[in-house]
Symmetry: D2
Subunit: 464 residues, 4 copies
């Protein structure tokens, strides 16, 4: 297992990554990437062992609820590192789909398990590389004005294939080691070259990563950016320009009829990501609203109590659906446990549908201090400190605590990180329309209709 | 156990019940009550046994999820009889509260268990008698212009007490045998006379029941009223005028500090009523919407598919919460299992909040035929039959099936029974504000706040 | 102008109308139709004049907002008669479309104005006959298994045409004199026979009307059915079996390209119906909620005040949109004023979307007494009167007033009339999806996009 | 009238303003303030005239809808400057309240009009200084642990008064000239010292302003921050430490019974701010959504069309309410026109309630490119340009246009400015609960109840 320092060094591997118009060769020392690298390095250190047989629990593929829960417990200390999260999601995606892929060719399943063993042994972090540029959405991949709108095979040898194209919105590529590339959707006969799933190192020749990040510009006091100043994840456009992929890293190649199986699997695990640790309850957000109400002295106002009750009911319903998703989980042919896709997608939809209302409620309780809290530098300025301290302290919180609370709120809900977090939270695993389609796909409509068809019978009674 | 016929005879016990301005002495032969009586009689017959040790499973008080589920399974065939339902709810209410009441006086618990044994042995049906007339809502019971706005003890002897007052909206009194009377809310010192819980036969001297019912007027073709024509439940104003209650039927008498414990227990079981059989999923309603869409040939319209997805997500979330309520159930000191009040009240709120939208969606898919389907008499009229058959048949349903479907929809959502069902469904176990209060009472806000308080600490990181 | 008595006599014209499986030849004496007839007769009497030049203001086709408002003022006393309303809607529909139809053939406009003169002179009431049976919704009219799924011309002579088919959900046919028949939607070349608009007397040979009605069954105390006991409107399936229509009553015949113009015009006027008298504000419903809150003594509960505020905001937004619809009204080539279809359809959507929530709020405030108020017969029964009076009176309302209030609520929101009113109110002028389509059709999207396109320019600034 | 340059110089007046922990003495040259200053300077230049009788139209106090609209038209070119907006709102606030204040003391009205003449003559920009720190919300001002939680008079001479306290969230103080200080709410007898309204120059001795701003840190390419890079408004905590106010700048002093009249007037004008130019319609946002849909090639997806229809209906309802607010405007005793507070507050509530859903819809259509569009520097990097251009261009937009569109979306909805804009937009003029209270205050509930009371009468009929 790598130490944090070894991890930082491992990123200086000749990769072509870009940020704000410049190539970055040492992410650990790039101002707007270094917090992300440091967060990951801290997690490497926290899991590190010198025992060569040890490995990070992210590489455990659970086969029961108990294993699932135990893995979560072990991973709790790694939660601040997004690259660990993407690694878990993409590897679970692969093993979930493995039995279906094995039906096409047994070698696909073998390649998947060998790849996981390789990542585990080398303690590598992997990105989920799926969304294509897509060009004109209503045209099939092969009808686009530019064939590279979808990643595709452009050449092949006996050793492997060469791919071209662009994958967008890939979290953490620049601070990780590997990309797992999946077809973005179902393909049809004639689109065989687009039905390609494989793994590619970030520093493979021909790979370029163009990053964006919500990390604050300039040198900022982390107290004013309590979350985004400590951790962040670059999002990348990943361009593949004649990139070679050896046969042993290919998980699907040309079988159009199963091109969607990996996307469906990834969708499930992305949607499930928020559910797996301790249910999907939003207890912390409820508590945050309650603290804000106390900080403003309005915790007993009827309309504030009413707003808290709205949050509590929402949190409780989410928690219930998270529990149901696990309790109704399924095992695939290899024994890998997956949460119930029906409950997961219904929950994702329900949670997303309310999320903007949640922010509204937090801001309504918090008031304009949400965006106007003085910086810590102002707070500590000798001309201003006494005045601000007097004006900001409350009976339950010191002025400093109140500042922390409101900077946290701004950073996470009304500044660059908040905006990124909101938009990507709503869209990861598909937007709301996708959740509706997925829920419909997994709902037993035949059973529902047969329950209802009793009313068509001459004497049916009623059992509502 | 009684037969249906014995049950019908048992109602001719000299009771004072009224409907539409007339006293009713034989409910089984009263036009707008007889369907309710017949439905209950059918259920008596279906459970009947000559074995004197046998009893209806409604009298089982379950102590585990397994017992709970088994009881449900046994009761499935009794679902069309509302008096069976109220009997189950009120007896579970009593045993749930029994340990708390026993702390006041052990005799209360004994009275409860003896009463259940009595009801079981005699196969009696019991009503939930709780809501007082209340008068001016902002005044305490003892400050009302008329002391009878709340049921209260007006006299007492060594053998028992005499009570006065009025309980409103009591389902099924006129077609059952017993009333279990509970205080409607918490009481305070000085209000001891109002802290009275007890059981009273419907035919006890001094009891009058004034009924309303959604049963159709006149002699109706049950095909036009497929639900309300087969079953119904009279709702009663029950007036107690110096009614004697013997000591052995008293479950609380004067202990104001615990007056609310029975109301809370009843609220839980009323709210839980819809959850207990097979989860709270609305699969049948989803199926109904799908059938209506097919009946109108619009099942592939995008906005109809979208509406179905909305229903499916709602149904799935309800089902999840129903599962969570059972999985997180608790046992009281006597071992009696209760579903989790947190999940039950959140679910009730969520389900109710959507219910009017559910009706909107059904009507929007169904169109105006919801309220304008010709009667079966028109359909069978020789002048009209051929024309109607031609105009009503579809590729998936015969004209007769289509009529059945739309009459069912009208009867249950857009006619007298539909209106009653909607209003009482929303209000049973308390309105939406009550659900919010109950959810808040059972939510662990201290835990939520402690999760959130981490952001007040100097270096807190984030674990969202 | 007819008197009420003359009107009643006029309905005994040999028509073939049916209700509950029987032919009705004298609607004024048919138990479940006579209230509707009486309501219309009262309105005839209230407008009656012996002056042969006088006519009912419903036949005024307004050309300015002032004329519109004056017509409304004059019609206010006729509001309880639905046949008057349908007459107004259908005649406004014809004159609104007249200029477009005149472009096809000038004789269509002439026929329209002559028809209105005829109706005015004879004081006739007309029904809106539009919705076809439609059969399989995804098939064109000419591809249906039965050609009569859409009304169509089956034969023609030099004097006129013969039509076949069925129009559904036609309000008031059986208690009026005329049907104005319109194509239900756009037609295409090859469907000329379906592009037929015309007027047909209810008693024309070959016309049958099969009614449904929410009028209460049996002889009911009107105090228990305060609205539905006084007025009602039968809804009819109207079957046309080789019905002759003379040339002078034909408004469109075969011009498929304009078949939808009448449907669009009717849709506008149906949607507008609720807007025209005094804005679309729901002040009365707000007041009803406030009265119910007072009747239950909860008017100062925060959650009730909050619910009232929700209703007030909704009412105010509806009123604003109603005002905007008139202020942005347009005149057609003949000078006929129409309200703005953009505002009308947005308002209809907004109002409908909330309507079920409005009912929920009313019921939540009112409580279970909504459906369980004792009848007036019970209230007057000597055994019960004193007890009920004591239990029902409040500090602001007598027991009798409280009963009136709750029976009104039940009759209009939770009984047969309430169900009919809710479903048809939501669906008249098209369901919610139709409102969305209509709003989109009338919104100036090009202007909206040009406003937004500024952000595509190199230096655009911002004017939000 | 000042030129832009003169305006910049005018800010170097010895004021004590702070940003990010440092005192700022020349706002025009302070990195994160200079864009705000430049935007205001540009507006000064655009209105500049050498004629000493000319003045900016912001100082016109309109007395008719026509004057109102004309003033708007003249001000259109000044919309990018927030200080102009606050000046207009606060002066309209003063003249709206003037007649009520004159009833207390005629000199108050005189002081108001003299102050406006002074501002007009010197072309000054004024801030709205209202929200106090408030301390413990449930305690009255005089019961707070620190008397300065509310601005109050601490001393007085024959020439004026001295005030202490802190006003929070004051937009534009540091880049304007004057503060108009108003009591934040109603006061009671005994709180006379808190009932103080007056005008204070920003550079008055004892005034300190502590700013926050959403202006981007560092030197940013304005193409990546198309709105926030061009204009911004610092928000200030304004501390008053024994600040002298001369008598002629005092508009209220001690009359507790009218302390709220100015706050109500300000609330109205703040809420109205978004309504006055061209109605409150959100046509531009609708157009933005349509452009995004086209940019992603999804404009014909049913769920996208459905989302657009939702936006269109919302925009149309807002526009209607904006029109109704003006059409129902009122004049005060001095002839000053104010929009209808009833419609304004209902509209504000309705618009706010939907605003977070609007953002959700925009992001759902836009997808993850909302937050991940490459910067222009990346786009222009020679290694990346061709690849990005190929991947970003669509059939309707060039790659550069698409980047502009998505950076606009991010900057305004998912970055620092977006967060500030969302939170302050929801809270300006009071949060949602305040809108509800204000709407209730202006709704004619007596009329509503009298309309409903007809149902209490013996024979009422119905006029729904």
């Amino acid at each position: 297992m790598m130490t944090g320092e070894q991890y930082k060094e491992s990123l200086k591997d000749g990769r072509y990554t870009y940020l704000d118009g410049k190539r970055v060769t040492d992410p650990a020392n790039e101002p707007r990437l270094k917090a992300a690298v440091q967060a990951a390095a801290d997690v490497y250190d926290s899991f590190h062992s010198d025992d060569p047989d040890e490995f990070n629990p992210i590489y455990i593929m659970p086969k029961s609820i108990e294993e699932f829960r135990e893995r979560e417990r072990l991973l709790a200390k790694g939660r601040g590192d997004m690259t660990l999260g993407t690694t878990g999601v993409i590897l679970l995606t692969l093993v979930t789909a493995a039995p279906e892929l094995a039906k096409l060719k047994p070698v696909y399943r073998e390649a998947i398990y060998e790849y996981i063993a390789y990542a585990r042994k080398n303690d590598l972090r992997c990105a989920e590389s799926i969304t294509d540029a897509k060009g004109h959405r209503k045209l099939r991949p092969s009808k686009q004005s530019d064939p590279d709108f979808y990643v595709h095979v452009v050449d092949r040898t006996s050793d492997g294939v060469y791919i071209n194209g662009c994958k967008m919105h890939i979290s953490g590529s620049s601070v990780g080691h590997e990309q797992v590339v999946l077809p973005t959707k179902a393909m049809r006969p004639g689109e065989e070259e687009y039905a390609i799933a494989c793994a590619v190192p970030v520093n493979a020749p021909g790979v370029s990563v163009i990053d964006t990040t919500y990390a604050p510009y300039g040198e900022q006091d982390p107290r004013n950016f309590p979350v985004s100043g400590h951790r962040s994840s670059p999002e990348g456009f990943v361009i593949f320009d004649n990139v070679f992929v050896p046969n042993e890293r290919i998980f699907l190649d040309g079988e159009v009829q199963q091109a969607a199986v990996l996307a469906h699997s990834l969708g499930l695990w992305e949607r499930a990501a928020g559910v797996t640790h301790g249910g999907a309850g939003l207890e912390r957000e409820v508590g945050l609203a309650a603290l804000l109400a106390e900080a403003n002295g309005v915790e007993n106002e009827p309309h504030v109590k009413d707003a808290l009750a709205t949050l509590v009911i929402h949190s409780t319903m989410c928690k219930a659906a998270g529990e149901a998703a696990m309790a109704n989980g399924q095992q695939n042919e290899d024994g890998i446990l997956t949460p119930s896709p029906l409950y997961i997608s219904a929950l994702k939809y329900y949670k997303n549908e309310f999320h903007s209302k949640l922010l509204d409620i937090l801001h309504d309780i918090a008031g304009t201090l949400t965006v106007n809290a003085p910086t810590f530098a102002d707070f500590e300025h000798p001309d201003l400190h006494n005045g601000l301290e007097a004006m900001l302290a409350t009976s339950t919180l010191s002025a400093e605590q109140r500042l922390r609370l409101f900077h946290y709120l701004r950073d996470t809900t009304a500044d660059a990180y908040g905006g990124w977090s909101f938009a990507t939270g709503q869209l990861s695993g598909g937007g709301q329309h996708a959740q509706r389609l997925v829920t419909m796909r997994h709902f037993d409509m035949q059973n529902a209709k047969s329950l209802a068809r009793r009313v068509l019978e001459p004497a049916h009674g009623d059992e509502a």
